[in-house]
Structure formats: C-alpha cells, structure tokens
C-alpha cells in the first residue's frame, strides 16, 4: 500500500463512477440515495399481481403489497440493487403465509371479473374450483417450491428468480423442474388427472 493515499469511500453518491481499471476509489451507492418512491411506482403493480395470484382477493393483495413495501421502507439494509429481489421474495412469502394460515378472503375474486361473460355458470364454478385446487396445492408444497412456481408463473426470468430467492442462477431450471414435479404429484394425488370442466 502506498503511504498516506488521500481518498475516501463515499457514503453518498457525489462523484462520477470511475472507468474500469481506473483509480481505486469505489463510489458507494448507499441506502439514503435509494429512490423509494420511484421504486414503488415501478414495482407495486407487479407485486400486487403476484400476491393476487396466491390469495385471490384483490383488495387483500393490495394490502399485502403495501405491507411488503412498508417492510422494505423499514429495512434500509435492503435498499439498493437488491431491493427488487428482496421485495418479491417478501411479497410471495406473505401471500403464501396467508394461504397457509387460511386467513385468505376470496369473496371479491369472482366479482372482480377476469372471466369472459360468455361462460356458463357451470364454467364459472369450474374455474373457481380449479383456482381453489391450485392454491391448495401451493399451500402444501415446500415453501421454496411454491415460491418458485408462483414467481415463475408471474413472469420472472431465471435471473430474477435467482436474485429474488438467493439461488445459483445455474440451478434455477433444475429447481423449477423439481417444483413442477412436486406440484403435479400432489395435484394428481388429491384431484386425479381430470381437469375441472373438461
């Protein structure tokens, strides 16, 4: 080390990022520079949709999504680059916990629509039953497997899944395949292979 190198590691971003191979001054991105509001607006809708897939009740999904962001707000260590993964992981866990503890309220799901108006009452009933069955399986799967399936079916990429759940990106495909096998095994065990309404 050279004698008395004048320099600092910054707490606040106040210097341009040095080019690769440049000086040793690392420019730190810290919690207070985290733009919570912009992050909230970017991710809130998607987070609420992830939770809605699990709990069914859209109002409750919005409450839980807000709760996940509240936890993020109260956890400065999670601010920064890893905030996305952190809030998705928290959100899906909150949804699955709700599902497991049976505190879910589904009364608004049917009213919220989403089904074509051309469906017969029998088809509407079958669709609702199918959702119940899928959620039942998610509630009895291992937590990690349920998280993988919910987040993957919500459109997260392998890299996003790895980041959110703290997994090795190379093993995500294998873990998803195992989770899918576990899902089908439980589903067939409980409900057989026949699909509702078919």
């Amino acid at each position: 080390m050279s004698q008395n190198v004048p320099g600092w590691c910054w707490y606040i971003v106040n210097a341009p990022v040095s080019s690769l191979g440049g000086a040793i001054d690392p420019v730190e991105i810290q919690a207070d520079s985290f733009d919570f509001e912009a992050f909230f607006h970017t991710h809130y809708e998607r987070i609420a949709r992830v939770i809605a897939r699990v709990v069914g009740d859209h109002g409750r999904a919005e409450d839980l999504a807000a709760e996940a962001f509240w936890k993020l707000w109260r956890t400065p260590q999670a601010h920064g680059e890893s905030a996305g993964g952190w809030v998705y992981r928290t959100a899906v866990r909150m949804g699955l916990n709700e599902l497991r503890t049976g505190r879910r309220r589904i009364r608004y799901e049917a009213l919220a629509g989403g089904l074509p108006h051309s469906l017969t009452p029998e088809e509407v009933h079958a669709a609702a039953e199918e959702r119940e069955q899928v959620r039942r399986i998610l509630s009895i799967l291992r937590e990690r497997q349920a998280e993988l399936l919910v987040l993957r079916s919500s459109g997260l990429s392998y890299d996003e899944l790895a980041s959110a759940l703290g997994l090795n990106p190379a093993s995500v495909g294998t873990l998803i395949a195992r989770a899918q096998q576990a899902f089908r095994k439980e589903y067939v065990k409980l409900y057989g292979t026949r699909r509702n309404g078919s």
Binding site: M1, W10, I29
Partner: protein, 283 residues
C-alpha cells in the same frame, strides 16, 4: 425425457395460469403510496415525542441528582461512615466465591474496547472506518500507529474507533460485527489489524470468519463467532456507531473527528498533525 419435461412444464403452467388476475385490474399505486405515507407519519411524530420526553426526563434526573441528598451510596460501611480512600478498593468476598449470575451477552456487552488513550486527554478523536474501504485500511495501518505513538500514548488524545459500514460493501458490516464481537473477548485490536491487513482477501471471498479465526485463539473463537452471527447487542454496537455517523453528517470513510471537528479534507499524517497540534497546545 425432454418431451416429458416439456409436457410437465406445460401441464403445470396451464393450471397455474388459472390464477392470473384479470387484465383489467389495475392496482392503485398512488393510493397505496399515500397509505404508506400516512402510516409513516405517526412513527415520525412518535420518535420526536419519545426523543423529547427522554431528553426532558434525562435533564430532570440530572438536576435531581445534583440537588438531592443521596439516600444510597457505595460505601460498604454506610453513608454515615467516612470512606477510607487511602486503601485500594478490594472486591467483596462474595464476588470471588460466587459465580456471576448468568446474564445474556446483551446485558453485559462491552463497548470501551474501541477506545484507547487517557479519558482525561484534552482532545477526543473519533475515527469512522469501513472495513472494506481500501483508504481506511491504508489510514488505519499506516497513519494511525504514528498518531497513536505521538498523541494517544502520551495522553494528549483519546481515540475512539467507530464503525461505519457502507451499504455498497457487501461484507463490511459482517466484518464490523466480528471486530466488535472480538472486542467482547479481548481481541479487538488484533482482529481490526487482521481485517484491514487481509481486506483484499475476505472482501473477495467473503470468508471474514476464516481471517478472524487466525487472529483469535481457538478457545475464544467460538464465542466471537456466536456473538458476531447472532447477538443483537453486537449488532447494536455497529448500529449505534452508524447512527452517530449520520447524526454528524459523515459522508465518507475514513473520517476523523477531533473535539467535534472534522479533520481534513486530506488525512495525511502531516495534515492531521497540523490540525491536532494547535488543539492539543490550547489545552
């Protein structure tokens, strides 16, 4: 086989797709954000209220202690008997024979291991560092020993080392916890030196534990490990230092504060001495 996997994947996705919320549903992010703001407001008010009440209570206690007659004292002969100050204090007999009550680490946590020098020194300096900051390592390993020899060991300066792990440094906080945990076992200085000296190694592989284990005897390492990994009191030591740094508007590491004044901007030995000498001389 591959075909089976594709079938399985399609089969599962088909079922999971039944959970898709309706495309027309738009969660209201503005309302949710307003809700969070409303929720945060009472907490902020509560914090100020708590701080005000605490400060008032502390001031009242201080006044009461100054003006009131003591009803209890530490003199084993009683308040009416003079204390024989010429005799060195001896531990009470019970203390030698009775094992100390089992207290959680959170209760008997020590923090003075971060301090060096005389408590009566005319100048108190606080050094804020981040264990993963290369400039902190340079300053701590090269400049601090010279400052210590000239000012701390001669009773002119009391030096307090404080943690300020920066968010972008992945293992800095863990390193601070290990150092503070080692302080509980009496190995603070050895661990701080080791962490700064091997910074390039553990900041790359994350093996803080491995480096600390080379500076602490095996018998004490288990305690250090447990404290560093799971003791909230050790985490609180780091958090307290961090809070102080924020209160003092510290925005970089290393930062040296002497009698409340930030030295620098350059922290070369010559510059620090030029700032310290007049402060020491004035006292």
């Amino acid at each position: 086989m591959e075909h089976d996997e594709m079938d399985l994947s399609r089969w599962v996705e088909d079922r999971l797709s039944s959970l898709d919320p309706p495309a027309g549903w738009r969660p209201d992010s503005s309302a949710a954000l307003a809700q969070l703001r409303r929720r945060d407001a009472p907490l902020r008010r509560g914090w100020w209220l708590w701080a005000t009440v605490s400060a008032t209570a502390a001031a009242a206690c201080a006044v009461w202690l100054l003006v009131s007659t003591p009803t209890v004292c530490a003199n084993p002969l009683g308040c009416s008997q003079p204390v024989r100050r010429t005799e060195p204090a001896r531990p009470a007999p019970l203390a030698a024979t009775t094992p100390a009550p089992a207290t959680s680490p959170a209760v008997d946590i020590k923090s003075n291991f971060k301090e060096s020098g005389s408590a009566k020194a005319p100048v108190t300096c606080e050094l804020y560092t981040d264990y993963e900051c290369p400039h902190c390592a340079t300053f701590y390993l090269e400049t601090v020993p010279q400052l210590s020899a000239r000012y701390v060991e001669t009773g002119k300066v009391r030096l307090i080392h404080r943690d300020f792990p920066l968010a972008g440094h992945r293992y800095a906080r863990l390193a601070a916890r290990y150092a503070d945990a080692a302080g509980q076992a009496g190995y603070y200085q050895a661990v701080v030196n080791r962490l700064f000296r091997t910074q390039a190694v553990w900041s790359a592989d994350g093996d803080v534990d491995g480096q600390v284990a080379r500076a602490v005897p095996a018998a004490a390492m288990e305690k250090v490990r447990t404290l560093a990994r799971s003791d909230m009191a050790v985490e609180n030591l780091v958090a307290t230092d961090e809070a102080q740094a924020r209160d003092k508007h510290i925005d970089r590491t290393p930062t040296l504060l002497c009698n409340g004044r930030k030295l620098g901007p350059e922290l070369s030995l010559v510059q620090v001495e030029a700032s310290l000498d007049p402060m020491v001389a004035r006292r």
